[in-house]
């Protein structure tokens, strides 16, 4: 039972609580933002005919560029607010990884600082456009 009263154990436990809260916050925030956008959209366009998604057409720049989405959301465009909610959701696990990086640093667990760094590098690489063939 000794291991359950060590400093390491409690530090790990605190980090678990923080990570849990962080994930919960991220999902709630994105759900709230997406809902606000969605409700505004439904009030304005709810009675229109639903779009058909049988054939794939890439989204316009306004919905696939991060700066454009933020710009649109600030102008209170409902679709942009919904996309902002999506971006916040994608950002939630990424933020968790960034947090883990500092948590492992705090624990002086340099092996895991390095491991976390590799994951962050892969995500940045993906953000930059991934493997271009």
């Amino acid at each position: 039972m000794k291991r359950f009263i060590t400093k390491q154990y409690w530090l790990d436990w605190d980090i678990q609580q923080l990570i849990g809260n962080m994930l919960r916050f991220g999902v709630w925030l994105s759900a709230i933002v997406a809902s606000i956008g969605g409700l505004i959209y439904l009030i304005a366009h709810g009675s229109e005919t639903a779009p058909v998604y049988k054939i794939y057409i890439s989204q316009p720049e306004a919905f696939r560029s991060i700066p454009e989405v933020i710009k649109g959301a600030l102008l209170f465009k409902s679709s942009s607010i919904m996309q902002l909610g999506v971006l916040l959701l994608i950002g939630t696990p990424i933020a968790r990884v960034l947090f883990s990086f500092f948590a492992f640093l705090l624990e002086k667990d340099y092996l895991y600082v390095f491991i976390t760094f590799i994951v962050i590098a892969i995500i940045i690489f993906s953000m930059a456009g991934g493997i271009s063939v």
Partner: protein, 278 residues
């Protein structure tokens, strides 16, 4: 059909997907992809993009609860995320060269394989009580989880095997638009001998990052439609929250049964679709 009716249908369907996804540790994607493509005839690109967003919601919503319970093995998850995110990145390139029918057949095959693996091992957890892997020790993957009778200690084995499997899980995640929780759980269950509760929750923990790595790229490619994604994010989130509560309260046996039934049904549907399409 009006936008309002469409939104409500999507909301209800994704609620169910989120609930089952969290309950089984599969993630909502496995239910959503056939639902969106087979039932609602939505193009696979939209389905994959939307599903991955939903998968992030399911995984993060449920993982928040599991992490706090102390069941999740965070170090194991973190280490394996190298493999899953790298795999996800590979998958985002493969998808460009893969036809819809091929994706459907791969989907079904993967799930049938997973289902057979689950049925094969129906007995109780084989908890490894001896140290078998030097790598697991060096990476500090051996851990314990809280149970009613006190903490259960376990040791991890076959780390390289698990790592390779996780790369595969990452590829399948971005290629099929699923969390590929089944593959992650089976890698940890069968190869690494990790207790089922730990493998399920740690899988959930990893799914969010894995999906985020490919979704951010798909977002840039324009796979994610706001009107389609919004009700699905909300529905899955609500379903996942309730599903997570059920998991903590229920036994391992029920979980495994639900797990294999869902896999079998989905597999048959997807393969049928793939063959019909060719």
């Amino acid at each position: 059909m009006t936008v309002l009716v469409f939104t409500l249908i999507m909301l209800a369907a994704s609620f169910l997907a989120g609930f089952i996804g969290a309950l089984t540790g599969l993630g909502g994607g496995v239910i959503l992809i056939p639902l969106l493509t087979l039932v609602f005839k939505i193009d696979i690109h939209y389905a994959i993009g939307t599903s991955l967003v939903a998968v992030i919601a399911t995984s993060s919503g449920a993982a928040a609860a599991y992490v706090k319970e102390g069941i999740t093995n965070i170090r194991l998850g973190m280490f394996m995320e190298i493999a899953t995110t790298a795999g996800a990145l590979i998958g985002t390139t493969i998808i460009i060269y893969t036809s819809t029918n091929a994706i459907a057949i791969i989907f079904g095959t993967v799930l049938i394989f997973s289902s057979l693996m689950t049925i094969r091992k129906r007995n109780v957890d084989h908890i490894e009580t001896k140290e078998k892997s030097i790598l697991a020790k060096q990476l500090r993957l051996n851990s314990s989880y809280p149970a009613k009778a006190g903490p259960v200690h376990y040791f991890v084995r076959n780390v390289p095997g698990g790592f390779v499997m996780m790369i595969g899980a990452g590829i399948l995640s971005s290629l099929l638009g699923i969390g590929s929780g089944a593959f992650k759980v089976l890698a940890m269950d069968n190869m690494m001998r990790i207790p089922f509760k730990v493998s399920t929750t740690t899988s959930n923990f990893m799914i969010g990052v894995t999906a985020a790595a490919s979704t951010i790229l798909y977002f840039h490619r324009g796979y994610i439609d706001p009107v389609l994604t919004f009700p699905i994010v909300i529905g899955v989130f609500a379903g996942a929250m309730i599903g997570a509560r059920v998991l903590i309260g229920s036994g391992i046996k029920v979980l495994r049964i639900v797990f294999s039934i869902i896999i079998a049904i989905v597999a048959i549907e997807m393969i049928y679709k793939g063959i019909k399409g060719t």
